[in-house]
């Protein structure tokens, strides 16, 4: 069948819901939190209108149980999905470890939202990045299209390496903003994403297995090593699946870091998620103004694209890392990770960390210009002014 995309104008959340439908998810555990709610509402609507068949919708009583129910369903062999945001994700934290440790390919959409207090429903990456050591893969979407594509790819990748995956979109900027999304006809999604073949299931009654039993010091270590290896293997699988996606549907995701006009760049802006849309736009403007700049959008934060980062870093003079998050007592999390990944290599560009957009503060093309001016000054001087810059601070 020839690929003819179906164009729909949808919010980021609806893009996620359509992807869940097209992925033929079998169990959805649902618990509301702003701004995630319209994902699970839309799925419920699909079910009520008989647009999805063969699905169980479990309206659980908390996010902790949403993840626990997804785990039960996934361990029984079903393709399982849930979605959350901020406080909900934090409440799930214990069970995120459980999903990864039990090697269950659950896919979850997290709508990036700032952690309280103070209460904030706006964009901020601290919720998802606080989960970075749980063994979940993390994909940051720049726009609604990437939310849709990301969910479909995440299932395929997760079910290949037997690790759970989070697809992350930003609060309101994507979750509630409408845009054109090219959707894939069901038959072609089915070809790309066949039914799940589980690593194990609890329904093998003749060879019953016990999952998650006590692991003594003699065994636990190896379990962790295997998980680490699966994460490493995921890089290859991400590349292959991203490439296949490109060949089938025209949008190539083979690179974990998407590079934009970096080839001849003196310095680049690096970041994740929707803010990189603004940055790319700014790069176009800045190029016209004579800056040789580019953008590096980190799509997959886990596994971390160290090799691709090295390839980029060895050819540029400086990297401005834009973090919509902060690790207290240290620095922005992407900045921290990027520096760490380059330490044992010969690529040593100047690296500066800009903390931007926390709690949904506006981040505009003009802000990128100001950062570019600052970066240029640093490069000319050959040294940093400050390492971590709270860019928007009202002084």
């Amino acid at each position: 069948m020839e690929y003819k995309p179906i164009r729909k104008v949808v919010s980021g959340n609806y893009a996620a819901a359509y992807a869940v439908k097209h992925a033929r998810v079998e169990v959805v555990a649902a618990y509301p939190i702003t701004p995630q709610t319209s994902i699970i509402e839309k799925i419920a609507e699909f079910i009520a209108n008989d647009e999805i068949e063969n699905i169980q919708y479990v309206p659980v009583e908390s996010e902790h149980s949403a993840m626990a129910a997804s785990i039960g369903a996934s361990a029984t062999g079903a393709r399982a999905f849930t979605a959350t945001s901020a406080q909900g994700l934090a409440l799930m934290h214990e069970m995120l470890h459980w999903a990864a440790g039990a090697r269950l390919p659950i896919v979850m959409v997290d709508v990036n939202r700032a952690m309280a207090p103070p209460w904030s429903v706006w964009d901020d990456q601290t919720d998802s990045l606080s989960q970075r050591d749980t063994g979940w893969m993390q994909f940051y979407a720049e726009n609604n299209q990437e939310v849709y594509d990301g969910v479909l790819m995440a299932f395929k990748i997760a079910e290949t390496v037997n690790l759970p995956a989070m697809v992350i979109e930003s609060a309101f900027i994507l979750s509630h903003t409408y845009d054109v999304v090219e959707m894939i006809p069901q038959e072609l999604v089915d070809e790309f994403l066949p039914p799940r073949k589980p690593l194990y299931t609890l329904t093998d009654f003749d060879n019953p297995i016990s999952v998650g039993a006590l692991g003594t010091p003699n065994d636990y270590y190896e379990f962790r090593y295997k998980l680490a290896k699966a994460m490493e293997e995921a890089k290859k699988v991400i590349h292959e699946v991203g490439k296949e996606f490109g060949e089938r549907f025209g949008r190539d995701y083979s690179q974990m870091i998407e590079l934009y006009k970096t080839d001849d760049a003196d310095f680049v802006f690096m970041g994740m998620g929707s803010l990189m849309g603004t940055v790319k736009q700014a790069v176009d403007v800045l190029r016209e103004e004579g800056y040789k700049v580019g953008a590096a959008k980190v799509r997959w934060f886990r596994p971390f694209p160290s090799e691709e980062l090295y390839e980029l870093a060895k050819d540029v003079q400086a990297i401005a890392v834009l973090d919509r998050n902060f690790s207290f007592g240290q620095e922005g999390i992407l900045f921290n990770e990027a520096k760490g990944a380059l330490y044992n290599t010969d690529a040593k560009p100047l690296m500066k960390n800009y903390i931007v957009g926390l709690g949904g503060r506006d981040f505009t093309v003009n802000d990128v210009r100001k950062i570019a001016e600052n970066m240029k000054a640093i490069i000319d001087k050959g040294e940093l002014d400050v390492e971590v810059d709270w860019y928007h601070l009202k002084r």
Binding site: E26, V27, A29, N54, I55, Q56, V58, P59, V60, E61, S62, H64, S65, A66, A68, A69, S70, I71, G72, A73, S74, A75, T76, G77, A78, A80, E94, M95, W98, A102, L202, T203, D204, F205, D206, P208, I209, S210, V211, G212, A213, L214, G215, T216, D219
Partner: protein, 311 residues
């Protein structure tokens, strides 16, 4: 030893064993007995969920398992939720759930994992109407972490965080009536059971299996380690708990209460009978025992009334 067929037929308790020898429970452990009866009744087509509790250990360390049935070990507070997910997945995959020829989804959790940290997930599970059975084995404290109080610990009992001493500091709250909380959800089937009355327990397990919807059994399961009682007295203590009406056996079925006492005509024995052999009650004064007796009387009268009105 093979049991001859003609003998097998006369046994009221299934001869099949799906709970392996070599498990790691203490001697006289009521919980392990309970687990054995569940496996005898349901056989291999059962999916267990066990949260953090003594049974995590009883069920065996990787790569071994004491249970001849699939088992998912899960986090302390998640039994109700994981069961829900398993049941949902079985349905979407086309399995028959519950009933004699169906798959039994069984949550097996301690009193701590049920009455306290897991209460929310239990409530969600009950309310959503999943076809599965939640069994709370009640040993009246957190045993796995070393005998701390739970909501199900009775008045007057010593535990390591409600110790007795010079200040006569001990557990001052009465046992939480988890079964009443469960019944408030108006589920089709809920019951209490005791390892001292296996026929009654197995009958209830079968009823839970054959009644569609969520079911709940609170199983009284003595713990000699935590109760500071002789290992050979577990069954006697479990029986005395029933005979003193400290832990009466009853069923709640679609709005109807039914008391299933072994000797219905007999008046309950005094609570002292149950307190004997148990080091955990040694700090209780005469007055404390009276307080406990009053509570037992009150709860027993309440249950009898319920059975009279809604029998």
């Amino acid at each position: 030893m093979e049991i001859p067929e003609n003998v097998k037929k006369r046994l009221s308790i299934p001869a099949d064993e799906h709970f392996y020898a070599g498990h790691t429970a203490c001697q006289g452990c009521g919980a392990s007995l309970g687990l054995r009866y569940v496996l005898k009744t349901y056989g291999k087509k059962t999916i267990f969920t066990i949260p953090a509790c003594c049974s995590t250990i009883i069920a065996g360390a990787w790569p071994y398992s004491t249970l001849d049935a699939p088992l998912f070990h899960t986090a302390f507070e998640t039994t109700g939720a994981v069961m829900s997910g398993i049941e949902a997945a079985l349905k979407v995959k086309g399995y028959k759930v519950k009933g004699e020829d169906g798959v039994m989804v069984v949550g097996w959790a301690g009193d701590g994992g049920t009455a306290d940290i897991g209460l929310q997930a239990l409530s969600g599970f009950l309310e959503r109407g999943h076809d599965a059975l939640y069994i709370m084995y009640d040993n009246e404290a957190y045993m796995n972490t070393g005998i701390q109080r739970s909501g199900s610990t009775p008045y007057g009992a010593w535990t390591t965080n409600t110790p007795g001493g010079k200040k006569h500091f001990l557990e001052k709250r009465h046992k939480k009536k988890v079964i009443d909380i469960v019944i408030a959800h108006e589920i089709p089937y809920a019951a209490t059971a005791s390892v001292a009355y296996p026929e009654d327990f197995i009958r209830k397990l079968k009823k839970a299996r054959d009644t569609p919807g969520p079911s709940f059994i609170q199983l009284f399961a003595p713990c000699p380690t935590g109760w500071r009682s002789p290992t050979d007295k577990s069954i006697e203590l479990a029986r005395l708990a029933v005979q003193t009406a400290y832990f009466p056996l009853f069923e709640y079925e679609n709005g109807r209460y039914k008391i299933n006492m072994p000797s219905p005509k007999k008046e309950p024995k005094p609570i002292e009978e149950f307190l004997k052999y148990q080091g955990r009650f040694k700090y209780m004064t005469k007055e404390d025992i009276e307080v406990l007796q009053q509570w037992v009387n009150h709860e027993w009268e309440k249950l009898k009334k319920l059975a009279e009105i809604f029998g």
